[in-house]
Structure formats: structure tokens, C-alpha cells
């Protein structure tokens, strides 16, 4: 059943620009909100949140959020937390590399085969969590 926009899980990646891990966070988000779980998930621009946009702040406080961070600075997690967001899950791209020793993910502008493989795994992990948060049977 389709969820209303106001009840969709928010998948919030870091800015994801300038580093390959950030690009993977962004692409995984798109995979989830446009492909795997378009009816139950949505994304939100982190810059809106850090600039204090009222709608963005209200959204992270009232809807379950999954943050995805490329690098250890954890911009997404920290800023959603700072805004009083309801963080149901925090995902780190670097953690997904643990099962892929020596993987070559690509560059900050273009993912290579390994990069897409790991991105798809992250996306599947997030999609499963979205389903769980929406009352599904996953995980």
C-alpha cells in the first residue's frame, strides 16, 4: 500500500560531493527512493536542514530518518541529530567496504563496477530497513 508523503521514511545522505564515498551515499539514496521503495521512502536535501528550513526540520522530527554518510565526518548523522531528527538508522558507506577488501569503487564523479556493487548492497540494506520501519516483515 502506498504511504502518504508525510509518512514516508526519509533517507538522508551527506552532501556527497567531491568524494567517491559521498557519491555512493547519494547513489544508494536514489536507488532506494526512486527504485526500490518509491512509495515508502523519500529524500531530503541536507543543506535545507542545516540552513534551518522549517519544513525540513519538522520533517526530520516527525518522520523516521535513515542517514547515510560517505566519510567519517558523519555530516548527515550529526546534522539530523542536531536538528532533533528521529534517526532510526545510521549507515556508513565505509562500513560496507569491510566485506570488499581491495575494492576499487571509482572516482568522485563516476562509480566503477565495484562501486556500483557496494552501492547496490547499501541500497538493499536501506530498503529493507525502510520496509521494516513501515511495518513490513524485513530484517
Amino acid at each position: 500500500m502506498a504511504e502518504s508523503a508525510s509518512s514516508k521514511v526519509l533517507v538522508i545522505p551527506c552532501s556527497g560531493i567531491g568524494k567517491v564515498h559521498g557519491l555512493m551515499a547519494r547513489e544508494a539514496t536514489y536507488r532506494v527512493v526512486e527504485g526500490l521503495e518509491p512509495e515508502t521512502s523519500d529524500t531530503l536535501c541536507l543543506a535545507l536542514l542545516v540552513k534551518g528550513d522549517e519544513e525540513a526540520v519538522a520533517a526530520v522530527r516527525t518522520r523516521p530518518c535513515i542517514t547515510i554518510d560517505g566519510c567519517p565526518k558523519l555530516c548527515s548523522y550529526k546534522n539530523v541529530q542536531l536538528a532533533g531528527g528521529n534517526i532510526a538508522e545510521s549507515v556508513r558507506v565505509v562500513d560496507a567496504f569491510k566485506g570488499h577488501k581491495g575494492a576499487q569503487p571509482g572516482t568522485a564523479t563516476e562509480l566503477a563496477g565495484d562501486g556500483w556493487t557496494i552501492t547496490d548492497e547499501i541500497a538493499q540494506q536501506i530498503a529493507a530497513r525502510v520496509r521494516e520501519l513501515c511495518g513490513g516483515e524485513e530484517q
Partner: protein, 283 residues
């Protein structure tokens, strides 16, 4: 090699235009071997980018929220060049589409906007008038007795002070309308603003004087003056002869066209205003 820039884009995520801003930012950085400024990290740790921001700065916004511009403003960064992708696409008669993943057509538009951004002129010089403002102008006319008033059909915005803004990318040229120049009569003097002046919407951006009266030129748009037209200061009658093209007064780098536009008239609406005014016209 091209001049190096620091590039501050918006986050570019949750609207279709956002990923286009990101594509352009990455392409600019690659082309000029510049420095990319992550907007969120910059907001949290500005010191991280102290060195990068010694370079001239390009600010790229996707949507009208203009997060990157706001961020630059809050940190008092001087902006060398600026692009708002949604507005630029609109001026090109294009749109960002619906998908967060740009298709080939949108990527081609990104390449075009990247080239434009990197080839933008230095402050103090007008955009290449042969290119950016060279589109031929098609006029509608209002006739009253022996008087004929011309109004450009497209590409111009007007205020009710009979001043216009002609748009090209994130810049606009401003001047006075044919109706106003005829009402004033032969112009004897045109005062230009100084390059670098910040102009709010409906602020004076210069003045014109005729044998009948002195009148401020009320800017339809907000922005920073990046060029002026010295020809009209030397020869004000250019404005009488060709008010909409060669009679431009100042060129502005736009601050917030989307907001400004709400208080302006398109060609058709201004035509109706002039038609109404023309019935009372006493030269």
C-alpha cells in the same frame, strides 16, 4: 590553463534540478582544476576550506531556495560568478525534468551551462553583447494619434515605472521603455550607476534628463551592477533612438529573479498598461 576557482554548490539532492547543479559544479572543478567546497561540511567546519577559498568563488544553486548563495552570504564570501540552474534553464526554454537522475539531454545542458559559467566575463565588463544580448527583438506596438510605442514581446520584464530588464543567464540589462523616452522627449543627460553598486528591486539605477524633466531609472530587478553602458552617457539620444537594445543603461548580476519576477510585468501585460496610458498621452 583556465583560471582556477573554488566552487560552492548547493547540496543538490531532492529536486530534479539539484543533481544538475552538482553535475555542473563537478564539471567546473574538473575543467579549471579548481577546489570543490562541500556545502554541508563548509557549514560545519568552515576552517577546512580556508585555503580553497583564497581562489575566486563560483556559487551554484539548483533551486530558488539558493542554499549555496545563503551560505556564501552568511560567511561573507565574495562571489566572482554565480549560477542558479533552474532560472538558467527557464531562460533557455528548458526544464530539469522530474527524475533525480539526469538524462542525456539534461547532461548536455549541464555541459552548456558549464561552458557559459567558465567563459563568463570579468566583473566590470559587459557580457558579450553580440552573444548574450544579441537575440533579435520582436516588437508589439501601440498606436495613439501619430505616436507609436514599441514593446518587446518576449525576453523583457517591465515595472510600472516604465523601466525594463532584459534577461540573459544570471544577468539582466536595464533601461527605460519606449513610452518613457517619448514622454520625456529628447534626452540631454544620462547618469550611470557605479560598477559594484548593490541595487534593490525598485531602487534607482541611474537617471535620465530631458528638456522637460529629470527621471530616475527604477530597476525592475535586484542585483549588483557589473557593467554600465558608457555610450548612453556620452550620447543620451541613443536611448531615444533605440531604448530596448543599444539604449541599455546598466547590467546587473541578478540576486533573486524569481522573487523579483512576481512584481513585474511580462511583455503582454506591459502592452496592456501602455495601451491604457496611451489614451491619456499628452506629449
Amino acid at each position: 590553463m583556465a583560471e582556477r576557482f573554488a566552487v560552492l554548490p548547493c547540496n543538490g539532492l531532492d529536486k530534479a534540478v539539484g543533481p544538475l547543479a552538482r553535475e555542473i559544479a563537478l564539471a567546473v572543478v574538473e575543467a579549471c582544476q579548481g577546489e570543490l567546497v562541500c556545502p554541508v561540511l563548509f557549514n560545519n567546519l568552515p576552517a577546512r576550506y580556508t585555503k580553497a577559498l583564497e581562489l575566486p568563488l563560483i556559487v551554484i544553486d539548483g533551486c530558488g531556495t539558493r542554499c549555496a548563495t545563503k551560505l556564501a552570504g552568511e560567511h561573507e564570501l565574495k562571489t566572482a560568478r554565480k549560477l542558479q540552474v533552474a532560472e538558467a534553464l527557464k531562460l533557455m526554454g528548458e526544464s530539469a525534468g522530474e527524475s533525480l537522475t539526469p538524462d542525456a539531454q539534461r547532461l548536455a545542458l549541464c555541459r552548456l551551462l558549464t561552458e557559459r559559467l567558465l567563459s563568463a566575463p570579468e566583473e566590470g565588463t559587459a557580457l558579450d553583447s553580440e552573444a548574450a544580448f544579441a537575440e533579435p527583438v520582436e516588437y508589439a506596438t501601440v498606436t495613439h494619434d501619430k505616436f507609436i510605442f514599441r514593446i518587446p514581446r518576449q525576453g523583457y520584464l517591465f515595472n510600472e515605472n516604465h523601466c525594463w530588464a532584459r534577461l540573459a543567464g544570471n544577468r539582466a540589462r536595464v533601461g527605460i521603455s519606449d513610452y518613457m523616452q517619448q514622454e520625456l522627449g529628447d534626452l540631454t543627460f544620462c547618469e550611470l550607476p557605479e560598477v559594484g553598486t548593490e541595487v534593490g528591486q525598485f531602487d534607482a539605477v541611474g537617471s535620465v534628463e530631458s528638456v522637460k524633466a529629470v527621471s530616475d531609472i527604477i530597476s525592475p530587478v535586484s542585483g549588483r551592477v557589473v557593467a554600465v553602458n558608457p555610450a548612453v552617457a556620452e550620447t543620451p539620444e541613443i536611448i531615444n533612438e533605440d531604448p530596448y537594445v543599444h539604449g541599455w543603461v546598466a547590467e546587473l548580476e541578478l540576486h533573486d529573479l524569481e522573487s523579483d519576477r512576481a512584481l513585474l510585468l511580462e511583455g503582454e501585460a506591459y502592452l496592456a498598461l501602455v495601451r491604457q496610458k496611451a489614451t491619456d498621452y499628452r506629449p
